[in-house]
Symmetry: C2
Subunit: 342 residues, 2 copies
DNA sequence: TTGAAAGCGATACCAA
DNA sequence: TTGGTATCGCTTTCAA
């Protein structure tokens, strides 16, 4: 095992400085209660011995909270989540909190296990992606008595706090837009997971709008694959193989849409003349494409920052709005075309 | 089930079950030393009260280590690092460890502050990106007496352990390859940061090879920008504006190369006939491009997994190779062309 | 301005 | 198979 660590404790510093450990404790925390002379001598020894406080003991002693915030996201292969995570960690870090990462791989079981473990470390709060979780997870969260922010899916009756967007509406708007453009045979390519998630909620909204508009949706859900470029590429191949009459494809996100666009281009089709392409998320890659990708803008970084801000506000006992809709914006783009006006 | 009580301790469970807390402790850890009858009664109360162990206290008591592993990477906007991180967290999670994330934003100061903080939480070990750090950081790491894996830059005399690649050689190989193809006026587009890092080491190697081959390198370092699509796009614009005679451009990574390729394409140039493009990292987007992107393959996920494995091995006192070269592979691709044979 | 003592939650150790 | 007691590093409380 990693054995003797040269860990220097408060009392060793106290011994070296010739004072009691209480005095060292007071000096280190500032706020007075000691003479300047004492302070100087203590700090000298702290430096000399390379003393680092053991925050475990501090939190354990009971009066302060830890500065851990558990943050769970599904995976890191999907840029929408890494942007959210960056927003969270950046804001938390600025205020002296640390992110304890949890990748739930889109399964409730993994999330539940992670929640149990991370709670045992007495985090100051948790930020969790999505709104669907196991009953046991929910129960643990309620009992933990710490702030919880549910992000991504806007949850109007959150466990505690929630910030995100209405994915159903976002999907619905995209569906309505494409139908409004005149598309009738529309395809969807995404990934499939065992449990409901935001992407499936968007798909529900999308189908509702498309079918309500008299068109239909052909779905291609790639099982157990990451929602990234290559999945979009081969998902499109499969979709078109089974549905040759499709004239427009909507994707789970922009990375997949780009992959799909590459596939149809490889067939010699042109976008949007031969086929329409619509992504979701307005990811960074969109900024360099020759045609503006039809998509839906979501302020991912801002969403993460807001989640962190709500957490920090709650931790400082400031008033917090428990449910924040961060909003989205449909981007018409030029990878779909208007076949008719209506 | 559980009440709305938020902190149930061992002794409360003990009281409810009518046994001592030592007995509850033994039951919870398994391994015997109690009767089946006692076990059942204790577990019943554990469930009933919704007891969750306080691992802080366990670690604090000193007999076990925490299961925190601090992991620092520069940022999440660069896919090379998210892949490494995913590899690390995946492997660590499987073995019951948690990632405490640190984003150092490419500054030694941020890394030093993060190290100080995270060490105060008594992590079981640290995995840090890069080999260049402040003297104070190095000193703290030495004193901490915990395993440290330095990743990314292969460090032949690591603080403790290291896994990565030789970035100088990687840059050198790319430079030699491009010169070998016959390119003479070669550009480089990357990002610039205050301190030396792996990308600047690659650039050093690249320049050495190119200049040694009698060609020259025109550099365009975009200050303080993320190494992603748009930076590649406008960095290329700037590079070409100042160096119209360039015939080939090497980029810090594939995302930037893709952005650059979009820019030159927008000018009506064709790749590789009018200009050669070479990236680095072999990122997922390369899998869907019509032409194989000239790049350098690095097993990012594997690198992360190896780092985690070395950490885990060290934590279980198994023998560990202290310096592992994970290797890279030049990908000739078809976005550069051979102007001459040699 | 200082210090001594109690205690946070869990575990090691020794007794019973 | 059980339980009592000391202990980890630090902070709170109370005294000097």
């Amino acid at each position: 095992m990693a054995e003797k660590t040269n860990k220097v404790s408060l009392s060793e510093v106290a011994g070296a400085a010739g004072v009691s450990k209480m005095t060292v404790s007071r000096v280190l925390r500032g706020g007075g209660g000691y003479s300047e002379q004492t302070r100087a001598r203590v700090m000298e020894k702290v430096d000399e011995l390379g003393y680092l406080p053991n925050r475990l003991a501090t939190v354990f002693a009971g009066d302060t909270q830890s500065t851990f915030i558990g943050v769970s996201i599904p995976d890191l292969g999907n840029e929408v989540f890494t942007q959210v995570l960056e927003g969270i960690d950046d804001k938390l870090g600025t205020f002296g909190y640390q992110t304890v990462l949890g990748l739930t791989q889109h399964t409730q079981k993994a999330e539940e296990d992670w929640i149990r473990t991370v709670l045992s470390w007495q985090p100051a709060g948790l930020i969790l992606t999505g709104r669907y979780r196991s009953a046991r997870a929910t129960e643990m969260l309620k009992n933990a008595g710490i702030p919880v922010v549910e992000i991504w899916d806007l949850n109007s009756s959150p466990l505690d706090m929630s910030v995100g967007i209405n994915h159903f509406d976002s999907g619905f708007d995209m569906g309505r837009y494409l139908v409004g453009c005149g598309y009738e045979k529309i395809g969807y390519v995404g990934t499939s997971h065992n449990t409901a998630n935001a992407a499936s909620t968007r798909l529900d909204g999308f189908c509702r709008a498309v079918e309500g508009g008299g068109s239909r949706v052909a779905k291609q859900l790639c099982l157990h694959d990451a929602a990234t470029y290559y999945t979009g590429f081969y998902g499109t191949e499969q979709l078109l193989a089974a549905n040759a009459d499709i004239t427009c494809i909507h994707y789970q996100n922009d990375a997949m849409a780009f992959g799909g666009m590459q596939y149809v281009t490889s067939l010699g089709m042109s976008v949007p003349d031969d086929i329409g392409i619509a992504g979701w998320g307005d990811l960074p890659i969109a900024s360099v494409l020759p045609k503006r990708l039809t998509s839906c803008h979501v302020p991912h970084l801002r969403l993460g920052q807001s989640a962190a801000e709500m957490m920090l506000a709650r931790l400082s006992d400031e008033p917090v709005q428990s449910c924040v809709d961060i909003g989205f914006r449909l981007i018409p783009g030029s990878t779909v075309r208007r076949l008719k006006n209506r």
